[in-house]
């Protein structure tokens, strides 16, 4: 059978083009790679190269022909052992139906697929084992399932958030040789915010790695190491600097499992302070919760208390997926009771009801939980019973806990330090509209940072940040009080 030379597409959107010029004539011998013709579209001119070798048997479409459909036969090549008589039975006809389109048609009748399309085993080429789905059970899955309700612990100790984070890392590093921490000033300096204090002494510089101030590079490096099964904890001095590295967090860490068809996981933790500190201005005071929570392939955690910090960081380190762990600098020095047990781990994806109430639900995360709890006290003095939910995890969001609470209270206030536009509050408002619309007795109210870059001046900074009183006011408003 003579080889058909088809009108090629220059792009997936091209449907037809002009056959501008033939570079060969009938009878010419061609080798693969030889330029046969030039074709034009409105965008470009391209050369058509021979893929096979042989003799040009017949040119079907003349030079200068416009509107030649993609996949139409434009010429025939005769193979070595063929002569012109082989062309007698060919019929160029219309353009071949695009095989890609045919394939998508198959999709609609997928039940027939198995029988009509040759099964992999019947195909002449057997896909190698690498393409088969592999068992992707990572380490620590069994431990992950052992999380206990924190109320069931009897022994507690008082820790700052800073100490809780350090203890979480140290415990996980003791139990898993693959866990290491890297970042700016994490080793000799003992942490820019002293979160990694003492780790260098215990684990040495192989596992506590001071990096240059190059977030993009070391985030990519950590991600590459995680592809290989190591479990890096990448510390950002603050998440503001992680914007330099967000390409690797999103494009490399969060998408590779999917793009590799499940072959390459990325067990990595990106952690550091997020949100506003105090008086550090616009470039150092931003909440990234909604940025990361937007992206499939990531988990996003934001602890409030020391128990949250310890239990969730341990879970994040054990998790086989990339976890963005948003801390808060102002909380680092605050003390909380923490279960005194190396096995204390909190599940990612579960919110905590910090305070039960009946009149209004206040949802918050990170530092805003503390403000929400104070607001709830004030509201109680005014006879309003507020339920405060500490989200703990932003993605996956614990929708059930929020919905159950709203079904009880019928009113919702969301709190976040970040901007309201496309923020976490916006998402929660949507979720409640979808799942509990009929239970709402008032529109959802959002408390958030003002829609401005963070100012430096003390008075302006206070005005820009959401305060306890804003929460009180919002709660009263949704209660029509």
């Amino acid at each position: 059978m003579p080889i058909e030379v088809l009108m090629p597409a220059l792009s997936p959107t091209m449907t037809e083009g002009t056959l501008a010029k033939w570079n060969v004539k009938e009878g010419d011998t061609v080798q693969s790679g030889d330029v046969l013709a030039e074709i034009e579209t409105d965008k470009a001119t391209m050369e058509v190269e021979a893929v096979d070798e042989g003799k040009i048997g017949k040119i079907v479409v003349d030079a200068g022909t416009e509107n030649v459909a993609v996949n139409a036969v434009i010429a025939y090549i005769l193979e070595e052992d063929e002569d012109a008589s082989a062309l007698d039975n060919v019929n160029p006809g219309e353009a071949k139906s695009a095989p890609a389109a045919a394939a998508s048609e198959d999709k609609s009748s997928s039940s027939d697929n198995a029988s009509s399309a040759p099964a992999a085993s019947a195909a002449p080429v057997k896909a190698s084992g690498a393409i088969e789905r592999t068992d992707k059970e990572p380490r620590a899955m069994s431990e992950m399932n052992k999380t206990r309700d924190e109320k069931s612990y009897t022994k507690f100790k008082t820790l700052t958030v800073r100490e809780a984070l350090r203890d979480a890392m140290a415990e996980e590093m003791r139990s898993d040789e693959n866990v290491f921490v890297m970042g700016e000033e994490v080793a000799q300096y003992q942490g820019a915010y002293k979160v990694t204090q003492g780790l260098l002494d215990e684990f040495g510089d192989r596992r506590v790695v001071d990096t240059p101030i190059t977030e993009y590079g070391f985030t990519g490096l950590g991600t590459g190491a995680a592809f290989m099964g190591l479990r890096p904890i990448v510390e950002f001095m603050t998440f503001n600097f992680a914007m330099q590295a967000i390409d690797h967090i999103i494009n490399s860490a969060s998408k590779t499992l999917y793009m590799s068809g499940g072959q390459l996981g990325c067990p990595i933790v990106f952690r550091g302070p997020n949100g506003a500190a105090a008086r550090v201005g616009a470039q150092h005071s931003q909440c990234y919760a909604s940025w990361y929570a937007h992206c499939p392939g990531l988990k996003v955690v934001a602890p409030y208390s020391a128990a949250d910090a310890k239990g969730l960081l341990k879970a994040a380190i054990r998790d086989p997926n990339p976890v963005v762990f948003l801390e808060n600098e102002i909380l680092y020095g605050q003390s909380f009771e923490v279960p005194d047990d190396d096995d204390f781990v909190l599940p990612i994806g579960q919110a905590k009801i910090e305070r039960e109430g009946t009149d209004v639900t206040i949802v918050a995360f990170s530092i805003m939980v503390g403000k929400a709890l104070k607001a709830a006290e004030k509201l109680a003095e005014e006879g309003i019973s507020a339920e405060v939910i500490n989200l703990r995890t932003i993605r996956p969001l614990d929708v059930n806990t929020i919905v159950r609470s709203v079904m009880k209270t019928n009113r919702l206030v969301t709190c976040e330090e970040g901007w309201h536009f496309a923020g976490i509050g916006a998402e929660i408002a949507s979720v409640i509209m979808e799942h509990a619309f009929d239970y709402l007795d008032a529109p959802v109210a959002r408390v958030s940072g003002e829609d401005v870059p963070m100012p430096y001046a003390a008075n302006l900074e206070v005005l820009a940040l959401p305060q306890e009183q804003h929460i009180v006011d919002a709660a009263k408003a949704v209660c029509y009080r």
Partner: protein, 336 residues
């Protein structure tokens, strides 16, 4: 380390390759070329979508580098990756089926031309962001050193990527921590449509690691034996714990940047000259014939085998079903 070793335009020592080696290089390079020609054809037929960056002309680079490594060494590259995958021993049918977006592809159709991986063959992608693979490869090397494994990561990048900031962040850390990574700069002389002269203030790319004390060599990337020889030096340097090494492999891509690039930024004469005088496959072919290892008929036999393999791959890639719609929601997170 003393003054970093700097070399230019390595001329290879006498051909040390055995006839078996030469035959293997010939076959491996030919497979890449025929595969890519077929991929170009399938793209033209609308069977392959999106972007498709062909490797035709550059075959000696990956085949030579792969010959310089031993089993188990890692490879990571950018989006012009089909040649690397075949050189790593990945199944051509699985690669082609990924290009057509089918279930039988290496990523079950979810990655496409630019995003393919094979843990089994130590091929870690296939990355679509220019330069993104450079820190990732450096991290793979970090992993080898962390675990005390005697392995090296070949991290490929193009002459366009070499101006990305993250490349230098990586060079710095690799040199600082003596990581076993060979940065293979495939200088095909055009970053998309911008020539090296127009995009690089210092066009000698092998010197780009000098500030970090990383030795660099410029190599004729159209000569598989020169590539292999330089590759062996680079890999040895890494294995001996001396840290990273840079190879600038001067090469040429015959096709456009991607399928939809008509490549009007260079002259036809330039391309023809490269094809006629420096074609990497013709070079080995000549060696085989001159050394009477194989005659024209013998070579034809190899051509036939390669063609048959590519034809089978193309057939598999067209017959493998599209991924099941349920695959849309798998592999986003590993379930805990």
């Amino acid at each position: 380390m003393a003054t970093p070793k700097r070399k230019r335009a390595t001329t290879r020592a006498d051909n040390q390759a055995s006839s078996d080696d030469l035959l293997k290089y010939y076959r491996d390079m030919l497979l890449i070329r025929r595969f890519e020609e077929k991929a170009g054809q399938l793209y033209g037929m609308g069977l392959i979508g999106g972007f498709c960056h062909l490797y035709i002309g550059q075959e000696a680079v990956v085949v030579g580098m792969q010959a310089a490594t031993t089993g188990g060494d890692g490879v990571v590259t950018s989006y012009r990756d089909h040649g690397h995958m075949l050189a790593c021993g990945m199944d051509s049918a699985g690669v082609m089926a990924e290009l057509t977006g089918r279930e039988g592809g290496y990523s079950h159709g979810k990655g496409g031309s630019m995003h393919m991986f094979s843990k089994e063959k130590n091929f870690y992608g296939g990355h679509g962001i220019v330069g993104g693979q450079v820190p990732l490869g450096t991290g793979i090397a970090f992993n080898y050193k962390y675990r005390g494994e005697d392995k090296v990561c070949l991290t490929y990048l193009g002459d366009g990527a070499v101006n990305q900031g993250q490349v230098y962040e990586s060079f710095n850390m690799a040199a600082l921590w003596k990581l076993p990574v060979v940065y293979c700069i495939e200088n095909n002389q055009y970053a998309m449509g911008t020539s090296t002269q127009r995009h690089s203030a210092s066009p000698d790319l092998y010197l780009r690691g000098e500030a970090y004390g990383i030795p660099g060599e410029q190599v004729d990337g159209m000569d598989v034996l020169a590539v292999k020889e330089a590759g062996e030096r680079a890999v040895k340097h890494c294995r001996e714990g001396n840290g990273p090494y840079i190879l600038e492999l001067k090469t040429y891509r015959y096709r456009g940047h991607s399928m939809s690039d008509p490549a009007k930024y260079r002259t036809k004469d330039e391309l023809d000259k490269m094809r006629k005088e420096h074609d990497p496959i013709d070079m080995v072919k000549k060696l085989l014939i001159d050394a009477s290892i194989l005659d024209e008929d013998g070579l034809k036999e190899i051509d036939k085998e390669v063609k048959a393999e590519v034809a089978k791959s193309a057939e598999f890639a067209q017959n493998s079903p599209e991924p099941d719609p349920s695959e849309l929601f798998t592999d986003i997170l590993i379930e805990v």
